[in-house]
Amino acid sequence: MKKPIVVLAQSLVLAAFFAMPSFADDEEALKKDLTAVIALHGLPCGEVIAAKVLAENDYAASCKDGNKYRVYLNAAGRVVVEKQK
């Protein structure tokens, strides 16, 4: 393999390696944010263990206790938490 290609490949691997923790951090921050929001609405959850982006400022959250919620920002600027079946 030519040297430039090897260097490029190594760079990509390094970039991916350093980028992954960042994604993981974002994911954790989102889960924590959603956990707090659900709790602030007085709904049972425990802890958000998975979050899926549905749209901008619109998420589906799965809780440790099995509950699922849709958390989104409505047009009036209010955060709405809807229980999902």
């Binding site: 921050a29 959603l34 707090a36 929001v37 602030l40 400022n57 955060v79």
Partner: protein, 197 residues
């Protein structure tokens, strides 16, 4: 839809009350100001009086929060026994020395990484709801008493502190130390009206 962090002032009650609202009823609160001002001492000089069980404001023009007269600490009262040992009966307002810097709090809240975007918006929603209750109370329309408002206020502050205390202790401490000053601002119809302008 875009709700910027600038709009998320937790107890940036000032900004929230002043900007996000623009309620048409501000004129309705003006007579209150006139009615209350003469008999009410300046809010800055008032000590943090705990709310007494409230009687609902009877008529819209003259709702009065239950902080009639600032209780002057007296020598001999249980709470001032330590102070009464000395010869100087100087009344020091408890924790009133720290001035309320809402701007600084606003900046800290905007910058904090301890809570996420959704949490900030949710808290702002709850702050706005509480401000609505205060507004109704000061206009004499509320079914709530001042005690109810105090309970709601304390609960909200507790939520905020719970969310902040582990990861942003400085901000939590700042909010905790401003707690009574913010309460006085909200509970006093005159100072509350200035927030709405």
């Amino acid at each position: 839809m875009h709700v910027g962090y600038a709009a998320v002032l937790l107890l940036l009650l000032t900004a929230s009350a002043g900007c996000a609202r623009g309620t048409p009823d501000t004129s309705a609160s003006e007579p209150q100001i006139v009615a209350v001002q003469p008999g009410t001492p300046p809010p800055a000089s008032e000590p943090a009086a705990p709310p007494t069980p409230a009687t609902k404001p009877a008529a819209p023009p003259t709702p009065q929060p239950e902080r009639a007269a600032p209780p002057a600490p007296r020598a001999g009262t249980p709470g001032t026994q330590a102070a009464s040992k000395g010869a100087t009966p100087v009344a020091k307002p408890p924790a009133a020395a720290a001035p309320l810097d809402l701007k600084a709090l606003e900046e800290e809240l905007k910058e904090t990484k301890a809570i996420g975007f959704f949490t900030k918006i949710t808290l702002k929603n709850q702050v706005d709801d509480l401000l609505d209750k205060f507004r109704e109370y000061h206009q004499g329309k509320a079914k709530l008493t001042m005690t109810d408002l105090r309970r709601s206020y304390d609960l909200l502050i507790m939520k905020v502190l719970s969310l902040l205390q582990d990861e942003d202790q400085k901000l939590a401490a700042d909010i905790a130390s401003s707690r009574e000053a913010i309460w006085r601002l909200l509970a006093d119809p005159t100072s509350f009206a200035t927030l709405e302008v």
